[in-house]
Amino acid sequence: MSMRSTGEGIGRRDLIKRSAALGLISVPTMSFLSACASGGGDTSTKGPDKGAVTKENPFGVAKGGKLDVVVFKGGFGDDYAKAWEAAFDKKWGTTSSHLGTQEIAAKLQPRFNGGNPPDVIDDSGAQQIKVDVLAKGGQLAELTAVLDAPSLDDPAKKVRDMLIPGTVEQGTQGGKFVALYYVYTVFGFWYSGKLFKEKGWAEPKTWDEFLDICTKAKAAGIGGLAHQGKYPYYINVVIMDLIAKKGGLEAMKAIDNLEPNAFEGNPAALAAVEAVYEVVEKDLLMAGTNGLTHTESQTAWNQYKAAFIPSGSWLENEQLKQTPDDFDMKFLPVPTLADSKLPFEAIRAGAGEPFIVPEKAANKAGGLEFLRSMLSREWSTLFAQQANSLTVVKDGVDPNVKLRPGTASAVAAVKTAGSNTFSYLYPDWYSEMDTEIQNASNELMAKRIQPKEWIKRAQAAVDKAAKDPNAKNNHRS
């Protein structure tokens, strides 16, 4: 009964050695298999899928590969993405697979967890996967390479130089640029060019002129101001824009930074709220607008039942079906109060729709190239045509292309505004405070509270948010 192993069986030591060897072989094999299963060429294991890196091809996209694109199919639809993919396939000989969906999280969470995410994602909508969560989990590719690559429009320039200011900051998480917020949104009032022409009304530049038109409209049996009463978010745009314009960027930052005099003791804030309340007091609101949803009030406005409505530049695309052909939609920056620090032309503007490339994407080079193409004037124009909205590409729309009137007037307003843009951050930082201010605005519009009471309630919301542990991390200068 010797303990030594004979040739007949496998000794304990041999077993361990062999299984270790088996493990060494099987690990790379498994990843190779999984790379095959994910359908795309994993650049690290499959040589032919990596193209040569050249000036024209800075990320080394392989000709004839595969590209997997998932986009949020919301207010902008997904036709624009299909147009992009067609252009991409034509140039690179790739085969794109396209998925337009509202269920981003449900469709993509398993793929992220399984290590086979798509190559490009528009991570938006109510069911988006939070960008900061993905970034913390190391799931996102750093996109700085895209910023430093040569622009497709002018190879002498970098992509970075083609973007409107703020784009990089907005997509930076923990010091890394990981998300490209692509759709540029401007906020303000909208009116019908046709109606104004008929009535001989001029575009109001001051709040008094604005009230004057509202009064004339009311006399003509039309409502002055319509707003999306069920969602006080929209009337808050007006109030906050008036505050920022009257009090300047300092007044805006005071709110974002939760300062004790953000509203209380801030004359600009009181003047802004009183200005909006004047519309209520003088009975210049469209009948019933306080209780309507966004679609109901916007449709009423499209039926010439009101002169003005506040909204972001997604409005035209959202109302496409309800807008009469000759409506001639026009954008109007929020008119200014007396002694405003910002000019009439200043607008609130910000970017939405974050596009990301997963770190583990099978065709990461393709994903990066896709983003670089998105930041070309050609693709930006495609987007403006298909989705009726602007992009973060500076002057990104070919002037020869005919846009719908609302988008065209928004493009013009962005141009006129130049660097005179501003943007609030508190709604993203402090949703509870935002909700409470919205509630106060709802009461104000229904004439149940007075401007002073609104100020008190808004300040209380700010003071409460200042106690939030998140308040330590958020600060803008």
Partner: protein, 314 residues
């Protein structure tokens, strides 16, 4: 000896059947409850897997939360009115449909056309709550386009320039919603009570009639006592519905997950969802969930106990 073995065999046999459903029940019903209970002691944000244990902080904050207290008060109001109004109306209609008519022949029957009424009354029950919300959204619409406003304007009762903003009035919103729930529920409970009434032997009614009982007397002395079991069960069901109300409030009223104007139609479920999904205070929301669970259980027990009566066999 053989009896013991038989007993063991039977237990094994029964357990064999029960093990799978029990496991499913434990995994998908009981475990989430326990998890919720556990999360209610943390500051979990709902968006990241990390959180800290905070003890009873959430429950302490809940006591001071005016919005939640307001919501609780609204739930209690609904708890009183939803079952009472629904059951009274359903009982009345069921009685009229089944025993309210009186023919010369002396038999017991419903009012004329009752078989049609029964079907018509049941219609609202067929609609899902989501459709109901859209439907009544159109009824309560705050401009002339709304059914109520349009009607009242035509009658000259409402000024077309200042229509009633039904769901945007602090003192009206909750009652408008109550009406929808009652409208939805009456039909179902009418059918339920009808079935119960039909199982009451006709001779009891006939005897009452021969003794000269009027409709009201027949109802109070004969029908209601014999229906008590059904009424009791209905009260519990409607009570639980009144404790929920999430779908209607969240879709019909203003605010993130409803509750507007200015928290005047808030119920516990809407406050919970807002904290859970929108404010990123999931641990806090779990504490609300636990409070709702406890309250609903107390409610069921109290209702069943308080309405217990001697059973009448027939």
């Amino acid at each position: 000896m053989s009896q013991v073995a038989q007993g063991k065999g039977r237990i094994g046999f029964i357990a064999g059947f029960l093990v799978l459903p029990l496991a499913l029940y434990l995994t998908f019903v009981i475990w989430p409850y326990i998890q919720t209970f556990g999360y209610s002691f943390t500051n979990w944000s709902g968006q990241s897997p990390t959180f800290d244990f905070v003890g009873l902080d959430n429950y302490a904050a809940l006591m001071k939360d005016e919005v939640f207290r307001g919501a609780l008060w609204h739930n209690l109001l609904l708890l009183v009115f939803v079952p009472t109004v629904t059951i009274l109306l359903a009982l009345f209609f069921a009685f009229m449909v089944n025993a309210g008519g009186r023919s010369g022949a002396g038999g017991v029957r419903g009012v004329w056309g009752s078989s049609v009424y029964k079907i018509v009354y049941f219609f609202p029950q067929v609609l899902s709550l989501a459709i109901l919300a859209v439907l009544f959204g159109a009824v309560y619409r705050s401009d002339e386009g709304g059914l109520l406003n349009g009607f009242l304007t035509k009658l000259g009762l409402v000024d077309p320039v200042h229509p009633v903003e039904w769901l945007n009035q602090p003192d009206l919103a909750l009652w408008c919603l109550l009406l929808v729930v009652v409208w939805h529920g009456v039909g179902f409970y009418l059918v339920l009570f009808s079935a119960a009434m039909q199982s009451v032997p006709k001779d009891i009614y006939e005897a009452a009639l021969l003794d000269g009982a009027g409709r009201a007397q027949t109802f109070l002395k004969v029908t209601l006592p014999l229906l008590w079991d059904s009424v009791q069960t209905s009260a519990v069901y409607l009570g639980i519905a009144a404790m929920d109300m999430f779908v209607l409030v969240s879709t019909m009223t203003s605010g993130q997950f409803g509750g507007g104007p200015d928290h005047h139609s808030e119920v516990m479920a809407t406050v919970l969802m807002r904290n859970f999904l929108y404010f990123g205070k999931s641990g806090y929301a779990c504490a609300m969930g636990v409070v709702m669970l406890v309250l609903t259980m107390i409610l069921s027990i109290v209702t069943l106990r308080a309405t217990r009566r001697e059973r009448i066999e027939f």
